[in-house]
Point group: C2
Chain length 165, copies 2
């Protein structure tokens, strides 16, 4: 499999998971958090699939396409390891979906970041809320959601917070 | 269509065109030229689909994944508007395939670059050789090749130099 094949599979997996979770949260109120804006592609897809939904974006430094930059009041700038814990009082237990696309080229950086996010992210989610991400992020009590057809195991993390949690 | 959808379509079109032209040049000897290395994804795909074929890469400054950097003797560094005309004596009439992925975010830059490449690229091609690219590049006597299934008209340029040229 070439890197071109791999890139296509990765983007298709992102899209399949976002489309799937968008259907699942149709009846679940609450904001969406996007951790990592990057070039803004998945943000653009989230807002297209979830019209009217509040989407808050956590990003260190905006470098997205000009069409894909969130409004100022939905953008939380800074190191997510600091901004995310600081945002917990605002969002605790309310969030319908966290989508995280925070992988870098560096394995150790990814591991540290995933651990920091894992420590708090479950507290953000509403009962029945979802986490979709490209890194090994988890939270206490997380239930695995079956990956959509065509998404290879391990390529994406897809978790749900139980209703009773 | 979101930017995620659009990115998937663009990469799928690249792959479809490369796979198609790789089959077409199976019986046509001669090197392949890749104009623009970028992150090295299409280079990786070309060398996977065309094992044993000499692939020369023209790039201003290498910023590809370390696994996708061509050997020094196949890498022609510099501004393609200078390096391409300078390489004509070496490759004239021999090239089986030119793949160009040279688009930038700037329309005027793309126009100037496409014009510069169009002025010389036909002279590189062997009779029956192909040009596949993402910009409005052409050459005298070029024949349009039908785009593979699923590739939207205009998304890719796919041309052939007639045998008799």
């Amino acid at each position: 499999m070439s890197r071109l094949d791999s890139a296509i599979k990765r983007l298709q997996a992102q899209r399949s998971c976002i489309d799937d979770v968008a259907r699942r949260i149709a009846g679940l109120p609450g904001p969406v958090l996007e951790l990592g804006l990057g070039n803004g592609r998945t943000y653009d897809h989230l807002r297209e699939r979830l019209p009217g939904r509040e989407i808050y974006v956590f990003e260190r430094r905006v470098a997205a396409h000009p069409d894909c930059i969130p409004p100022d009041d939905k953008l939380i700038l800074g190191d997510v390891q600091e901004t995310l814990p600081a945002a917990l009082t605002r969002f605790r237990g309310q969030v319908a979906l966290v989508h995280a696309d925070v992988g870098t080229g560096d394995v150790e950086t990814n591991r540290v970041l995933a651990a920091a996010i894992s420590a708090v992210i479950g507290d953000f989610l509403a009962p029945g809320g979802y986490l979709v991400c490209d890194q090994q992020i988890t939270f206490p009590g997380a239930e695995a959601v079956p990956l959509p057809d065509g998404v290879a195991p391990g390529r994406y993390i897809y978790l749900r917070k139980p209703e009773s949690a």
